[in-house]
Each structure stands twice: as C-alpha cells, then as structure tokens.
C-alpha cells in the first residue's frame, strides 16, 4: 500500500511538472501581449506587408462572439442566412475567414468568463459588462487596442465614422492611454416606458394619467372594478405588476423622486449602480411601491419568480395586468408573438397597451435617466493574434451598406420600402428570420435601427412592429426620451474598489428593493435602512469614497 502511494505521488509530481512546462509555452504569448502598450510588435508590422488595399493576401481566420437567444423558430445563431452573408462578403472584401461562436444571451458574462479563463474566448468579444473587461485587463487577459487603433486608423474609416472618437476613446485610461474596449453606438436612446391597458381606461371612462395621483387612483379603480373588467377571473386582477428587478421595473416612478438639482458630481459618485439605487429620494419612491403593495395594487407573488420566468408575461397576455413599467417597447416587441398581439387574440381586438407618462419630479419635469451614446463593449482577449483582421472586421460591420442589410434584410422578404423612404419590417419565418430585433447580435458596433437618416429611422422604427399602429410606437418613443437626462462620460481611470463587486452588489440591491416593497408598512424603514446599510458595508461605501476622491482630484483641484 505504501509503495503504491509513493508511486502515485511520484506520478502526480511528474505530471504536474509536465503541466507547468506546457503552460510556460503558452505563457509567452500572454506575456507578449502585455508589451503591446509601448509599440506594436512585429506580428502587426509583418501583417502590414501582406495586406493590399485593406485586403489580406493570405486568408486570415478570426472568431467572433454572437449571442444565442435560443428563440423559438429561430435559426442557429452561428450558421444561418445572415452569417453566411457576413462570411462570404468579409472573405471577398478582406480575405478574412469568420467563424461565429455562440454564447447564451442570458448568461453571457459567466460564459465569457469561463472562455477567457480557459483561453478559448473568441477573437472579438462583446459584453455589456465593462467591469468584467477591466478585471481581465488587470490580469493581462485583454489586448490594449490603443496602439492598433493609432497605427491602423486610416484603414478603419467606417469604424471611426460610426463610433466617432467619442465612443472609441470612451474607456481610454487618462494616465496610461490604454483602451481595453471600444463602445458600440447606441443609435436610439429610448429605454423605459410606463404602460397601461387602454381598453380598461376607456371602459372605466378615465383619462390617461398624467400625475402620480391620477396613476395611483387609476390602479385603485382597476382593483375596485375587477369584476367589471375580468368577470369570473376577478381574483386574478393585478393592477400593477413588477418583478424582483424593482429598480428597472419601477424606473420612471423612482426617477421622479430624485431631486431635479442633483449635481453632476453626485450623479457621478452615486451613479455606479445601473438602477440608480443610491440616488437621493429613491427610498421615498420605494415607499410608494410599498404602500401600493400593502393596498393590494401590486402583484402579490412577484418576488418568487426569477429572471427569465415567463409567468408575468403570460399574465399580461391573458389580460390580468393593468399597468407596468418595462423596456420602452415591451408589449409590442416579438412580432406576432408580442404581448399585445397575444392579448388581442385572447381577450379581444380592442385590448391594448398604451404608453403613458405620469411621473413628474419636484421641478415638474418627466425626468428619466438616459444612457450616453454607448451600448455594448467590444474587446479583444489577449489570445487574439489577428488584431488587424479583427479591426477590419469591425470596420466592415460598421459600414452603412453592410450593417443596413443586416438590420433590415432583403426587400420583399424581411422588409418593404415605403414611398417616403422609410422601411417597414415584415414578419419572417424560416431561414431568413432574424434571431434578434434588427439582427442586433451581428451588428455589434451599433444598437438600434439606422438607415442613414434620423427622421426616417424613427418612422421606420414605428413601422417595425407587427399588429401595432405606428402612432403607438411614436408615442412610446416620445415618452421614453422626453425630459431625459443623459449620462455624461467621466473617465478618471479605474475605480479599483468596483472590481469584482458588480454582481454581488446588484444581487444585494435587488434583495433590498424586493424586501422593502413587500415589508409591512411599519417595518418599511427598518427593512430598507438595514438593507441599504448592508449594501454600503459590503463594498458600496468604498466605491462611493473612491469615486468622490477621483472626482475631486480631477475636477476640483
């Protein structure tokens, strides 16, 4: 037995020694990339001679991340009509062979983490989560794009044209000049809306609410008239529905409680939470929700359902939900299968959701917090040994002609052109179906329809929904951005206390908000304050302090 054990031990040591040697070899490539800060290494320079008129003389191979939404009736995201188009034309234009790597949309951060750690991340990665990129950059796992962008700028007219210096330099470190990721363009800033059942308003003869009081009365009226509105299903009535992500699902309500004179400094210091949980006044907004919950105006069981659960959508489709706050076009999206279309089928032709704008702030504005012109972050992991080919791919996908084809597809199949030049999207099934709206998952440098003219864009967006009158969409668009306050970009370098804290803090925020909403009225303050302090003690305060110092050092010297 002893002997066996010692043999085992020797084997183990031998094997681990071998692994160590094996790793060393790969390590060199990792080390090389870290030197890229100073100058572009011969790899890039040598590539230069092999490229004529932005076309490689020898075929290069790159891999590109694509979100996999697993949608019903969809095509494989890595192999379909649109990927074939991309592959074919990129090969023709630049002699680059593209392979797509599907990554599940709803667990993309985890998936990319695993792939980065395993060293098989796609050459071009996309994520909404900048801290992930920063964390990996600190470990040396991400390529600094700055030297490449500087060297090859002339070869990338479309990329610079679409993103502009603003988005390309958005994340540029003010001291080192490193650019770990460039920001895709957010073509249209609309974000969130409040929706109400229009047919219920008509049935009960109440006008669209324009103040908080009217909105509240409306919810109460819905509840009181459940028998009229739902008949035998009266006990299923949900005047206002919400999810565990309270910050998102009550956004316009909560934003209206934030004082209008919030300074840019405070907006920066407390703005790291993407639901603006730390802004002053939010607590009072949550108190309002708590009040509604205890009056029975909010869906009782909302806290039990996690992300991706369709229970709430099904309740909307079945016609039990009176009002809700969600993505600006939530009830209209998904073509034939949209909430609105299902509602019409199940309840009746007149059943319909309409966007309303009831929440005014202390200065009388319908204030909402809107993002800067940035969307997804595109980065290259350090395992990318084709930075030029990857940049040329980004340039190709940023070219109006190419991205427009991806966004609207073929005329007569996925869209039709109207007389005024606007584009109407058509519901498509089969191989030319778009897995994501306007193929957003392929056009990774832009989010939002862009056919080259802003006025036509909005018209086209409004035409893009199946079974909805364009006026509803135009209204939703207007309400979603009216009186909006846009995020400014303050880049004072890395805030180190934010590293790795994002998911844990978001988790805590959702917990505090959910528990506060369902607390008994007399316990609300205790529950909220305890959760709030827990959030601060678990890393929130450290971030606030560091951001404060960063602001004061840079802006108030």
């Amino acid at each position: 037995m002893k002997r066996l054990f010692s043999i085992l031990l020797i084997c183990t040591l031998l094997a681990s020694g071998l692994i160590a040697c094996g790793k060393k070899i790969t390590d060199n490539t990792g080390g090389k990339d870290q030197n890229n800060n100073a100058t572009v290494t011969p790899g890039g320079g040598a590539g230069n001679e092999e490229i004529v008129d932005r076309k490689f003389t020898k075929t290069r191979k790159i891999t590109v991340e694509v979100f996999d939404r697993g949608n019903e009736g969809g095509t494989p995201p890595e192999n379909n009509f649109y990927t074939n188009f991309i592959k074919e034309v990129v090969l023709r234009d630049h002699n680059i062979e593209v392979t797509f790597v599907p990554v599940p949309r709803w667990t993309e951060v985890e998936q990319i983490n695993n792939r980065l750690a395993a060293g098989d991340a796609p050459d071009i990665c996309v994520t909404y989560d900048y801290p992930t990129i920063q964390t990996y950059a600190n470990m040396g796992g991400v390529l600094d794009l700055n030297p490449y962008l500087e060297q090859y700028k002339d070869m990338l007219p479309n990329l610079y044209g679409l993103l502009t210096e603003t988005n390309i330099n958005w994340n540029k470190n003010p001291e080192t000049g490193a650019i770990w990721a460039i920001e895709a363009r957010l073509a249209n800033p609309q974000r969130i809306n409040t929706f109400v059942r229009e047919d219920w308003l008509k049935k009960l003869n109440i006008p669209e609410p324009t103040t908080l009081e009217e909105f509240e009365d409306m919810l109460q009226t819905f509840k009181d008239n459940a028998k009229t509105l739902l008949g035998k299903d009266a006990d299923k009535m949900v005047p206002f529905s919400i999810s565990y992500d309270v910050g998102w699902r009550a956004d316009h309500l909560l934003a209206s409680y934030v004082p209008d004179n919030l300074s840019e400094k405070d907006a920066y210091i407390y703005g790291f939470d993407d639901r603006k949980f730390l802004y002053p006044g939010i607590k009072e907004g949550v108190r309002k929700l708590n009040e509604w919950y205890n009056k029975g105006l909010i869906w009782k069981d909302f806290a039990l359902y996690g992300s991706g659960d369709t229970t709430e959508d099904n309740m909307m489709k079945a016609g039990y939900v009176g009002a809700f706050i969600h993505n600006w076009d939530y009830p209209y999206r998904n073509g034939e299968d949209s909430i609105n279309n299902n509602l019409k089928r199940l309840v009746g032709e007149d059943a319909n959701y309409v966007a309303v704008m009831p929440f005014k702030n202390d200065a009388g504005f319908y204030r909402k917090f809107l993002p800067g012109p940035v969307d997804r972050k595109v980065f290259f992991p350090s395992t990318n040994d084709e930075p030029l080919a990857s940049l040329l791919y980004l340039d190709w996908i940023s070219k109006l002609e190419n991205r427009m084809f991806l966004q609207i597809g073929e005329e007569g199949v996925t869209h039709e052109k109207l007389e005024d030049g606007s584009v109407k999207m058509l519901a498509t099934k089969g191989e030319k179906i778009m897995n994501s709206p306007n193929n957003i998952d392929y056009t990774i440098t832009i989010n939002g329809l862009d056919i080259g003219d802003q006025e036509l864009n909005i018209k086209s967006i409004a035409l893009g929904y199946v079974g909805v009158d364009p006026s509803y969409i135009e209204k939703a668009y207007k309400y979603s951005v009216e009186d909006g306050r846009y995020s400014q970009n303050y880049n004072f370098g890395e805030i180190t206390s934010e590293t790795g804290m994002g998911p844990a803090l978001s988790e805590k925020r959702n917990t505090v908000l959910t528990q506060s909403v369902v607390a008994a009225p007399d316990k609300f303050d205790a529950v909220f304050d305890q959760g709030y302090n827990d959030y601060l003690n678990s890393g929130g305060q450290a971030i606030i302090d560091e951001r404060k110092t960063a602001w004061e050092n840079a802006m108030e010297q």
Binding site: K23, G119, G140, K300, L304, P503
Partner: protein, 320 residues
C-alpha cells in the same frame, strides 16, 4: 528509499519486496486493469488539486498557477477576506443550519421507510411503492422548484388556493424565511428518501433469515423483531452512511438552494455554494472562492475523521 539501517530489517524488506514482485507478476493482468481507474484518478483528481494553491495566490488568467504572486499576509489574504465578509459568515451559518436539519430529518427518514416497506406483506404493492418513491430522485432541482412554485406560491399556488377555499389563510411556504427552511428540508426528504431506502432494503435482505424464524418461535412480534434483529443488522450500514453524511456537513449543493431561493428568503437561502457563485464565478474573485472551497474541504475531512474515530471507539468498523 534506502532509509532502514539494521541488516535484519533490510533482509526482511527484501523478502517482502520479492513477495510483492511475485504477486504482481502473477496477477499483472488485474493490476493492468486497475491502471485505468488509477490514471483517471490521477488526471481528474490529483492533478487538479495542484490548483488549490490559487487560494494562496493572486489569481491571473494569463499566468501559470506556479508563477502567480503570493497573496498578502503570507498567502492567507483571501482567508482573512472571507472571514471578515459578513455575507460569507451568513452563508456559513446557513449552510450549517440547512445541512444539520437535512441530517436530522433526512437521515432517519429512509431508515423508517425501509422498515415500513419491509413489513409489507403484499409484495407487488411493495415493489410498486418502492419504484414510485424513488422516482423524484431523477428530477432536477430546477424542475422541483418549478413544481414547488406551482404548488406553494402564496396566491397562485395550488395548495394555498385549496387552503383559501377551505377558509384558511395562505401559508408562506416559499416567501417567509422560517417556512422556507422547512419547505427546503422536506422537499429534500421527498426527493431523496426513496433512493436512499434502496441501500437499507438491500442490507435488510442480507440479514440471516434463521434469526427471524428463531425469533418467531420465541414469540417475538413485529416490533420486537425490528428492534432486536433488523436494527442491529442495519447498524453497520447506518454508521457508514452517517459518517459519510457528516463529512458533507459543510459541503453544499448549489442547484437546490439556488433553484428554490428567491429574494425574500436570502437571509437563510444564501449558502456557501451560492456565495461562491455570486462572488467567485460572476464576480471573478477566483482566489477568494478557492479559499472558501478549501476551507469547506478541510472542515469536511475533520468531521469525517472525527466521526470515524468515534465510530471505531464504539466498536464499529468505520470507513477509513
């Protein structure tokens, strides 16, 4: 290798070695067969263990694990960080609480069920019941949590709808921390009871039937037979399984608490596994979570050996 000094022991060893060689030579085919699982264990169990050192080092994805920089405080930075993190301490408490309740209720349950099944006279009914009770073992926790929501949600859950119709108030099975703990434990019993019964039933079959006959002749009833024959017969099995359960007291499943949990019960449902998931995998703090994992394993080993030693002291065979 050549540590022994006296002539005697050396020759003794030489004889022993010769014997071993002869043995291996004779049964080499068997040893060859054993090589396959051995290689498996080396590759998938021992080699990965070298990565435990991540717990003591500053993790980097591009560096080799041997080259990573040692963490602060002589490498114990992340252990200190974990133990000064309140979320970790809560997770530790919850893990202990849930596992202890699981042990208290989940451990004796299959023994009792096995005794009951064994007493059934109608064999076909026994087999049918046995099959049905172990079915839930094959359901994933995601499916069970979906079933739980359908049954136990406060307003839409079937059980609560029935209760309401009968004039009772809803029971907050899933949305109140104290109730949730019991739902969690009982669902665990429901899921695993049948499967764990199999091993006890097998042990009961192994008991010498002459003992039952003798007891019957002496006039022992059913309870006497259970008490004096079956339970003593089961004792070695029970002890082995108990020691193994104790080894898992700080281990923690991920899918069960994660799937059953919701935002209202995080005060009891956050366990070490979910802590590792949020902070380590999603928050990219791999060193911290490796430290947590190592701590879990060390405590597990301590429990295992202590339980084993106690069992041996009381005259049982133990497992190590």
């Amino acid at each position: 290798m050549n540590g022994s000094k006296s002539e005697d022991s050396r020759s003794n060893k030489a004889i022993k070695r010769n014997k071993t060689y002869a043995y291996i030579k004779r049964y080499w085919t068997l040893y060859l067969l054993m090589l396959i699982p051995l290689i498996y264990i080396i590759i998938f169990r021992y080699i990965p263990m070298t990565y435990i050192q991540i717990a003591f080092k500053k993790y980097s994805i591009v560096q080799n694990v041997w080259e990573m920089e040692l963490a602060g405080n002589y490498g114990f930075e992340y252990f200190i960080k974990a133990f000064s993190n309140r979320d970790f301490l809560y997770a530790l408490r919850n893990t202990l609480l849930l596992n202890f309740l699981d042990l208290l209720i989940g451990f004796p349950a299959p023994i009792i069920l096995a005794l009951l099944l064994n007493e059934l006279a109608f064999k076909r009914f026994k087999r049918l019941t046995q099959t049905i009770v172990y079915m839930p073992h094959f359901l994933s926790w995601i499916i069970i949590s979906g079933l739980a929501l359908q049954l136990f949600a406060p307003t839409n859950g079937l059980v609560n709808i029935v209760l309401n119709r009968m004039g009772f108030k809803s029971i907050p099975f899933l949305n109140d921390p104290a109730h949730w703990v019991w739902t969690y434990v009982l669902l665990g019993v429901w899921q695993s009871i049948g499967w764990n019964t199999i091993i006890y039933l097998a042990a009961i079959t192994g008991i010498n039937p002459e003992l039952f006959e003798a007891a019957a002749v002496d006039g022992a009833g059913r309870f006497r037979r259970i008490w004096h024959i079956i339970l003593p017969g089961l004792r070695p099995t029970i002890v082995v399984l108990l020691i193994m359960s104790l080894g898992r007291i700080l281990g923690s499943e991920f899918d069960r608490p994660y799937a059953l949990s919701n935002k209202l019960v995080t005060s009891v449902s956050n366990v070490i596994a979910t802590f590792v998931y949020t902070n380590g995998i999603r928050g990219l703090q791999f060193s911290l979570t490796t430290a947590v994992g190592l701590f879990q394993s060390v405590i597990g080993v301590i429990f295992l050996t202590v339980a084993n030693a106690i069992a041996k002291r009381f005259g049982e065979r133990g497992i190590i």
